[in-house]
Structure formats: C-alpha cells, structure tokens
C-alpha cells in the first residue's frame, strides 16, 4: 500500500477509533461518514473497547507485500467487548495454541515496513488477554 493511503487512516488504526451514531446509537468501525443501519450523518468519534474475543482465525503463510518478515502469522476477526468487529494480526501466541473464542486485548505494534520508502507503519494487533 502506498504511504499516503496508509497515513490517511493512521489515526484510526493506531488508536482503534470508531464512530457512534447520534441518531440510533450504533457503533461502527471503521468510521465511514454515514451510519449504515439508519443513514444518519450525525456521527461522533468514539474510542472502542480494547478487549474482546476471537470469532474466527487463520494462519497466513503467503503474505502480502510488506508482511514477509512476519510469516507465517495469525490473523483473526476479533469481536470487541462493545460488539464492534475488527480484523487484525494476533501476536504473542503460537498457532497450535489458537482457539476460537479466546480472549484478546489490543496492542500497538509495528505493522509493516514499506519496501520502497522504508517507512515503518504502526497500528493495532491483538494478543492473548492475561486475566
């Protein structure tokens, strides 16, 4: 991905910010400018929950450009405790230990290095929650 395209979204990727609809109360991620349930544009930024559980997951062995150094790595669909779902890499866990339903928490990490510019991109990843 080009660097400008990534940076446009950086704030939201780095801080896990979604939007809340002032009309119907829906919380969405990523924010889009329109509430998909009700069509309202009266939206506020809202900080999302940083803990949740794994809904589904896999192990990527043939990664996209910029992710080679991490492969093979875990990715998952995580449902946050406020009901919002996000896709993310999982870290600090071996694939063999993975279980659907596992509790996880957000961690902010280096996501990839742009091969052309060398710019390091940061964002959220998730790791097992130690309770």
């Amino acid at each position: 991905m080009s660097v400008p395209r990534y940076w446009r979204e950086t704030k939201y990727r780095y801080r896990l910010i979604g939007q809340m609809c002032a009309q119907c109360g829906s919380v969405m991620f990523p924010r889009s400018g329109v509430c998909s349930p009700c069509g309202s544009v009266d939206l506020e930024e809202v900080k999302l929950a940083e803990t949740g559980h794994v809904v589904t997951w896999t192990v990527v062995r043939n990664p996209p450009a910029g992710y080679m150094e991490y492969a093979p790595y875990l990715v998952a669909l995580v449902e946050l405790d406020d009901g919002v779902r996000v896709l993310s890499q999982l870290v600090d866990i071996e694939p063999i230990k993975m279980k659907t339903g596992m509790r996880v928490e957000a961690a902010f990490r280096r996501v990839k290095v742009d091969g052309n510019s060398g710019i390091i991109e940061y964002g959220y990843k998730f790791r097992p929650l130690i309770e």
Binding site: M1, P30, T58, V60, R61, P64, L77, L87, S88, Q89
Partner: protein, 411 residues
C-alpha cells in the same frame, strides 16, 4: 427487476485456461481466440459486423499487463469498432456482471446483438505480484492492512463454517477431488488430471506413495496455504478469455435453432470487509442475487439441473451450494461427500472442473461459466456432459462476497 425482452445466448467460445501454453500471449490475443470460436459456434453463421455493443469483464489488466482501456482495445482487435465498448470491473465477478449488463442492454431495447466476454492475463507477474494484485480486490486498509490475503479471508470463513456447523476439511477435500475429476474430462481445463493421478506422479518424485486421495491430501505434498485451507483447496493462477454472443428473442432464429435463453439474472453487493458482514458462514449477496434470478426465471433452486458456482476455494463451493438453496445450511459439505453434486448427482455442480480445476483467469471466469452452461444445455459439453440438463445456473463472486452475479438459463 425484470427482463422486458427475451435474451438468448447464440454462440460461445473460450480459450483453454492455462498458464504455460499462453506464456507468450497477451490479453488481446486470448480475447480474439475466444471471440473467433464464439463466432464460428453460431449455427447459421455469424458476421462480426452484426455486433452492436461489446462488454468486457476484466479485473486488472492495468496491474497485470500495464494496459488499461481494455474494452476498446478488444473491440479493435476483434475488428468490431466503432461499436460501443465498455469494460466492467467487479473483481472476480467482472464478467458475470458483464453478462448481466449485456442481457439488460438487449432487454432494454438498446441493442439486438451484443458480444460479452472476459479476459485476464495474470501470469506476466510473479506469484507474489499476482497475490498483491488480487489483494487489491479486498479492503486495502482494513483487510490487507491487517495482514489478510485472499486465501486468508476464505480460510477465516472456513473456520467459522466448521465451528458453526461441524463441517470439515475432509468435506472440502471431496469437493477438490470431484472438481479435479470433472476437469480431467474437460479439454479447456487448466488441470486435466485426477487427484490420484497427481498423487502418483508427485509421490514418485518425492519417494512417497499414497493409498488414496485423502492420504495424499493430508501429506506434506499438500501444504497449508492458510489453515485450514491447503494448496488443493485453492484455484490455480491461469490466463484465459471467454466470449458469448447474445441476441434479442426476436432475432434469435436468424442465428440458431438451438438458443439458450437467459431466463433470469440477479446481482447484489455486500460489505467489503469481513468485519462488517452479518454472517461469516453464508454470503448474503449470493442469497439475494439468486433469489432475484429465480424469481425472474420463475424457477426454484431444486429446478436447477446443472450449476457453475464460484469455487475460488473449496469452502466457497460448499457455501455456494447452501446459499443458492441446493442444500440446507450446514449440509453442503455432506452433500459433496455423498456425491450429490457429482456429474451424475441430483444437481451437478461445476461439471467443467470449476475454478479449482478449470482455472480462474479472474476477469474471464463469469463468462466462462455462462459458456459452460450454454454448452451443457445444448448437449454439447462432451465427456463432462450432464445427462438431460435443461435448467442451468451460473454464480460468480467478487473477492470474498462483496459482489455476486447470478444467471438462470433455460432452453
């Protein structure tokens, strides 16, 4: 939605889907080959000058070949300028959508005779380059940016389906085995070998031997791509083109006494990224598009005799056979194991080998599905003919389900 005039397929052609045999060829040459086969297939003869408009499905000739403006280029090379030529890009559903739009263009009364097809030349790039280009059809920020790939997205759907319905990788293997069998009977298919045949020759090279398909498919020669999906759960990277000639009902008899009518069409979209989907075990766009197509055609799922469904990964075929209504939710895998989707099953699914064995030159796939159903309903499918097929369906999916097109065909 409805079709206000009859529309029929009167001719069809496609290149073989393959990588090596097309190594020296570009999109335009592939498309011309398919177009000329389509022209020659018209029973009463066909003059290309009768084409009034061209619709071309193409995903990314820009990235694959450094060539945009693909539809006008194809019109030029087929020799049908100055007709209106339009390119449609909806990821892997590009030419399925193109077929729908071409049918609508005729039904609207705008044109009587239309050429529609698809083309993709993917193998100009390395496998890594292809992976990155295909990833453009997913959400670049929130899916690929999280490290997902296409196999990764479908693997996540597979994991969710396994968890919700108790379906299994062995069921996916049955789909791969069936589609390789069908591909072995199809001279247009990328892979024309049974899984056991591949197991023997790969095994010999690696000093291994296998008692049956599952033993081979569980071995290190079938590595994981994205758990639980292994190499044989994924379609290959192929080059190819496919072309159909469509005509308005009033004009059909000029061209053939054996037309295949497009009885119904449907199309729907869905949230691009998996985190916004209402379900991870069903594609809503498949359900909606097929409902529309069934309604327009006045048929039901169990009226379908033969279907080409979008099996970019084996899990995609399993889910499609459920979402199209062929089997209840959660029973698609068992149905495949029991042979109910085989060539002589109650509903033949992917008799041409599907994307899995026939190949998947992304932009050419939807029109190639229509080509297969055209051949099947005319009884011209050769060794993979489904006996007595009268009503057929084509189901084309863009990426992980954000676009789906469906057509129902009948005599």
């Amino acid at each position: 939605m409805r079709l206000s005039r009859d529309v029929a397929v009167v001719g069809g052609g496609m290149t073989r889907f393959h990588h090596r045999i097309h190594a020296e060829r570009t999109s335009r040459e592939l498309f011309v080959e398919a177009a000329l086969e389509a022209k020659c297939s018209v029973d009463n003869g066909f003059d290309l000058k009768d084409v009034e408009a061209l619709f071309v499905g193409n995903f990314s000739s820009d990235a694959f070949e450094g060539q945009s403006h693909t539809a006008a280029l194809m019109a030029d090379w087929v020799g049908i300028t100055p007709v209106a030529a339009s390119r449609i890009e909806d990821a892997c559903a590009s030419s399925g959508v193109a077929v729908n739009l071409a049918a609508m263009a005729i039904a609207s009364g705008a044109y009587d005779v239309v050429m529609v097809g698809g083309v993709e030349k993917m193998r100009g790039l390395t496998t890594e380059g292809v992976t990155d280009t295909l990833a453009m059809a997913a959400d670049a920020v929130y899916e690929v940016g999280a490290g997902f790939t296409f196999p990764g997205l479908y693997a996540a759907l597979a994991s969710a389906h396994f968890a919700e319905y108790g379906s299994s990788w062995e069921q996916l293997a049955a789909i791969a085995i069936k589609n390789h069998h069908n591909g072995s009977l199809n001279p247009k298919a990328h892979f024309q070998r049974e899984v056991m045949d591949i197991a023997s020759s790969l095994g010999e090279r690696n000093q291994m031997s296998f008692g049956d398909e599952l033993e081979f498919l569980r071995s290190s020669l079938n590595p994981y791509i994205a758990y639980p999906l292994r190499l044989f759960d994924c379609c290959p990277i192929s080059d190819g083109a496919s072309v159909l000639i469509l005509a308005a009902g009033e004009r059909v008899r000029e061209f053939t006494d054996s037309p295949v009518y497009i009885r119904g069409i449907g199309q729907a979209s869905d949230a691009m990224a998996l985190h916004d989907r209402e379900s991870l075990t069903s594609l809503r766009a498949t359900r909606l598009a097929s409902d529309q197509a069934y309604k327009i055609a006045g048929v039901q799922a169990d009226d379908i005799d033969v279907a080409d469904v979008h099996d970019c990964f084996t899990i995609a075929e399993l889910m499609a056979t459920e979402d199209l209504g062929f089997f209840p939710k959660g029973e698609g895998g068992r149905a495949a194991v029991e042979g109910r989707t085989g060539l002589d099953g109650e509903i033949s699914v992917n008799p041409d080998g599907g994307l899995k064995a026939k190949g998947h030159p992304v932009g050419a796939t939807g029109a190639a599905m229509a080509y297969e159903i055209f051949k099947q309903l005319r009884g011209e499918a050769g060794r993979h003919q489904v006996a007595g097929a009268e009503i057929g369906l084509a189901h084309n999916v863009g990426a992980s389900g954000a676009t789906v097109s469906v057509q129902v065909y009948g005599r």
